[in-house]
């Protein structure tokens, strides 16, 4: 098969320009509605549950999950499907454990919840540290992925791709704040769901709309083993640890948690999770069909020849079935996906810097709206610049483990203090700081001495810590440190406020 991948075709550029023009027009519209901090960080709490469901799905369905899982299924068959299920299971846990209390207790960031009863400065600084660390790993993986993918699809040089992503997403966030960022996510989610649905229908149309016939074609070409579990779960403990990070790390991702402040109340927050889980579940259900289709129609040899990781499986099958225009559409959607995810991460990073650090730590909660908005915009530019610089510095590095690391840090440093502050009267400032510090340092340290970095990147003979994902150790350790440090200290003022906190958590009395 002949492919135009890697050359900027007219249709790819055209679709890309249409998407950018549409989203920038939207930003212009949103900019006129973004005057206060509540509008900048939380879209004025005016987003409906369905809209927020799409935006949450948009934040979560990254280019890595779309292209990566399709590629994994294409090259490794059933094992790729196992991977897809792991990415969904955090969503039910999110609603069971933290989404509604978070909505009722907080204002703009998850640190609002952790610091609700505790001493502001230490808890804000620690929470912002955990949050920003998570966001940096996440944005680094996105930026390097963006540079590579855009180079593969459009033939644009890596540096140009990184700078373009940085510049366009800064326009969204800087001028349109959360309103623009939310609508960019909604548009991107709809385009992505539409594109993958169309791709699935086109694949199935080649197999008389029967998945069974598709699987037979895969088995005829690559053997029955393509439809059986292979070597992915060779170490159950490591798989359980990765599962924990994926499941509970979601509950500590600042850019996801921040979305719950954009809806009017806890009921809307709850309903939006049901929509988001539906969209994301549907996405992960049909992506394996695209992957198997690529394997049967395009062939593993060609997919691997273009990108060893299989990332181009979905674009290749799109070109085969829908020609250059459809490839252009899928490439433009992948680009839009990266833009939207990086915009969401940048807004979350800016809110931690300006709301938690500047307003509540430097200024003790006293600053005018105008001042806060100015700092928020400076922080946005700062975080965006850091993202671009990181993307440049890590050019050519294998950063696939960075997303896993972001989830591990989120599950270990952000989730434990968040849950403890919601459910435990005796939780203290020392407990919060200790759990964040322990979770962040342990997850970082353990990943450095794990096979992921110690062996694969530093080429040492054997790893000191045997697991690739540290969450199974670092998360319980963070909970334990939070408990012990709280038992060793007492904070009567925090305990006295717990009844008020409960009324606000469960009944929404006093919620913003």
């Amino acid at each position: 098969m002949h492919t135009t991948l890697g050359t900027p075709t007219l249709s790819a550029v055209l679709f890309f320009l249409i998407i950018v023009a549409l989203t920038l027009a939207l930003t212009w519209w949103a900019a006129r509605r973004t005057r206060s901090t509540s509008e900048f960080y939380a879209a004025g709490r005016s987003i409906s549950p369905m809209q927020n469901g799409l935006a949450l799905a948009g934040d979560y369905m990254s280019a890595a999950s779309f292209l990566g899982i399709a590629g994994l299924v294409a090259l490794r068959g059933y094992d790729g499907m196992i991977y897809a299920t792991g990415w969904l299971v955090g969503w039910p846990a999110l609603i069971f454990l933290v989404a509604e209390p978070l909505r009722n207790l907080g204002k703009f960031t998850f640190a609002d919840v952790v610091a609700f009863r505790l001493r502001q400065a230490p808890v804000r600084v620690a929470s912002a540290f955990g949050g920003i660390l998570t966001l940096l790993f996440y944005v680094l993986a996105q930026m390097v992925g963006a540079g590579n993918l855009i180079k593969l699809m459009f033939g644009l040089p890596y540096e140009w791709a990184v700078v373009t992503v940085g510049a366009v997403m800064l326009l969204y966030v800087l001028f349109g704040g959360m309103i623009a960022t939310t609508w960019v996510q909604i548009i991107k989610a709809i385009l992505l769901l539409f594109g993958v649905t169309l791709l699935t229908v086109l694949v199935l149309s080649r197999f008389s709309f029967s998945p069974g016939t598709l699987y037979s074609a895969v088995a005829a070409r690559y053997g029955q083993a393509a439809l059986e579990p292979g070597g992915l779960v060779s170490d159950p403990i490591d798989t359980i640890s990765l599962g924990l990070a994926l499941m509970l790390g979601l509950l500590g991702l600042p850019h996801i948690l921040m979305r719950f402040y954009t809806v009017p109340d806890a009921r809307a927050a709850r309903t939006s999770v049901l929509y988001a889980t539906g969209f994301i579940g549907y996405f992960y259900l049909i992506i394996p069909i695209v992957g198997f289709g690529a394997s049967a129609l395009v062939g593993r040899e060609l997919i691997r020849g273009i990108d060893a990781g299989g990332n181009m499986a979905a674009p290749l099958v799109a070109e085969l079935l829908g020609g250059t225009p459809f490839l252009g559409f899928i490439a433009a959607v992948a680009f839009a996906t990266i833009l939207a995810v990086v915009a969401g991460l940048t807004l979350a990073g800016a809110s931690a810097l300006s709301h938690d650090i500047f307003l509540h730590t430097v200024r003790n909660g006293a600053a005018t709206e105008a001042e806060q908005m100015r700092i928020a915009r400076i922080a946005t530019v700062g975080f965006g610049a850091i993202a671009v610089v990181l993307g440049m510095l890590f050019k050519g590095q294998n950063v696939a483990y960075m997303v896993g690391l972001a989830f591990a840090v989120a599950a270990s440093a952000n989730f434990p203090p968040l849950l403890l502050s919601i459910v435990w009267r005796r939780f203290t400032t020392a407990g919060a700081v200790a759990s964040i510090a322990a979770g962040a340092t342990l997850s970082l340290l353990l990943i450095v001495i794990s096979p992921t970095i110690w062996v694969d990147l530093m080429h040492r003979p054997a790893a000191i810590f045997p697991l690739r994902n540290p969450a199974i150790v670092s998360m319980p350790a963070a909970f334990l440190c939070g408990l012990v440090a709280s038992w060793l200290t007492r904070e009567p003022a925090a305990e006295a406020k717990f009844d008020d906190e409960r009324l606000r958590t469960y009944l929404g009395i006093g919620a913003e």
Binding site: L97, G212, S216, G281
Partner: protein, 104 residues
């Protein structure tokens, strides 16, 4: 905290509502863990079972994997439907008997 807010926070009804909410969400979380880790353990130990064919080439592992995703969504739906129907009604009842928001 006003006197009546303290009464509300300490009332048996409020405590029962909170306990009911956590009971349901912890049961659902446990089911979610069982579902997902059950699947992982099945992959680690029951490879022969998952490779069993149910069609010409289709293995039973494929519908099982899909079922994990659908069931995870189903658990979410159980919680949301319960909370929208029962929890919110109880919240409205408790709030109407409570003093107005301290918010201006």
């Amino acid at each position: 905290m006003t006197r009546s807010h303290r009464d509300l926070a300490e009332s048996a009804e409020f405590r029962a509502l909170v306990a009911r909410r956590w009971r349901l969400s912890l049961v659902l979380s446990a089911l979610l863990f069982l579902l997902y880790y059950g699947y992982i353990v099945l992959i680690a130990t029951g490879r022969a079972f998952l490779s069993r064919r149910i069609g010409e080439a289709t293995t039973i592992g494929i519908p099982i994997g899909a079922a994990v995703i659908v069931a995870a969504w189903g658990l979410t739906a159980i919680y949301v439907v319960w909370a929208n129907r029962h929890y919110d009604a109880e919240v409205a009842r408790l709030r109407s008997g409570s003093p107005p928001d301290p918010r201006p």
